[in-house]
């Protein structure tokens, strides 16, 4: 009860910020939609070039499905834990927010580590992006996604420090909301990478 009362006073004092807050989140949503179009071009490129292996091995020979499935589960779980962090942020439970963010960060980091390990493994076996059109488009698509996840991790680290220093203010809540959109969006992009690159490559 007291937390609700506290929330409503905080809310009253922040009156007038509503428009800016929701406009900023909406603006960030528009950025994410433009990022969708970037990924669409990469998916289209991959779809056109995926059969052009230049006589080299195709997806069936190159990719290890159990590892890809593990990556998918890790990213799905991190999306879930981020959702819990956001819920805790709106309930003003700072310790919970930091805790869930740390779990999300560790999951995201292990995703990136697994992906980089897989990439270096492929390159060491002589299947780099220079080998064929299929591999060029594969590394560009999956690499761009991995880069997004890495940037998301840097951002998450920054937010953890801000929450620790400034607490759960309207500003940090807004930033957490923006990162949640970004993080769930990356999860959705990965679902399509998983389906189009890996599952359809296996058939």
């Amino acid at each position: 009860m007291s937390s609700i009362a506290h929330h409503s006073t905080a809310h009253d004092s922040a009156h007038g910020h509503h428009d800016t807050q929701s406009t900023i989140v909406f603006g960030f949503w528009i950025y994410i939609m433009s990022d969708c179009i970037l990924f669409a071009t990469l998916f289209a490129t991959f779809a056109v070039l995926h059969t052009h292996t230049l006589g080299g091995p195709g997806p069936k020979e190159l990719f290890s499905m159990p590892i890809v499935l593990a990556e998918t589960f890790i990213l799905l779980t991190s999306s879930f834990t981020y959702g819990l962090a956001l819920l805790a942020a709106f309930r003003k439970h700072q310790r919970q927010v930091i805790g869930f963010l740390i779990v999300t960060f560790i999951l995201g980091l292990s995703f990136v580590v697994i992906e980089v390990t897989e990439f270096t493994h492929l390159v060491h076996e002589g299947h780099s992006w220079r080998s064929s059109a299929f591999l060029s488009s594969f590394f560009t698509l999956v690499g761009t996604h991995g880069l997004h996840v890495t940037l998301g991790l840097v951002w998450m680290l920054g937010l953890m420090i801000q929450v620790k220093r400034h607490g759960l203010t309207h500003v940090t809540q807004r930033k957490l909301t923006a990162l949640s959109l970004f993080w769930h969006f990356l999860d959705i992009v990965w679902i399509f990478v998983f389906t189009i690159v890996y599952l359809m490559g296996m058939i």
Binding site: I4, V25, M65, F80, L86, T195
Partner: protein
């Protein structure tokens, strides 16, 4: 009371942010929608139908995540997010389907 609180933050941040229950439901559904197509792809029977079935699973997964994680809905504040998303979806479809249409056609005429 808690409904009122939710409404307040909805207005502030332009979208709903769900409940623990909705996140758990979304999480379980997305796990299922990952495992089923994975198992299907390992035991392939007919190739063409399998492509379509796996594609449909990805679309179902997209909808689950949009609804349960990104909270897209037709509610007033989230409405704009949904409108922009629909526009983007159309652009993405034109881009991907258009590219494939042109390139497959080109491939066909190069070969014949």
């Amino acid at each position: 009371m808690s409904h009122h609180e939710n409404e307040a933050t909805d207005i502030e941040f332009g979208s709903d942010h769900g409940t623990v229950k909705s996140y758990i439901v979304g999480f379980i559904l997305s796990l299922l929608l990952t495992i089923v197509p994975f198992v299907l792809a390992q035991h392939s029977f007919s190739n063409d139908t399998l492509y379509i079935v796996i594609g449909l699973f990805a679309l179902a997964q997209l909808i689950v995540q949009l609804v349960f994680f990104l909270h897209l809905s037709t509610k007033s504040q989230a409405r704009w997010n949904l409108n922009v998303f629909i526009f983007t979806f159309i652009v993405v479809m034109i881009l991907v389907v258009g590219t494939l249409w042109i390139m497959v056609n080109l491939d066909y005429f190069m070969m014949h």
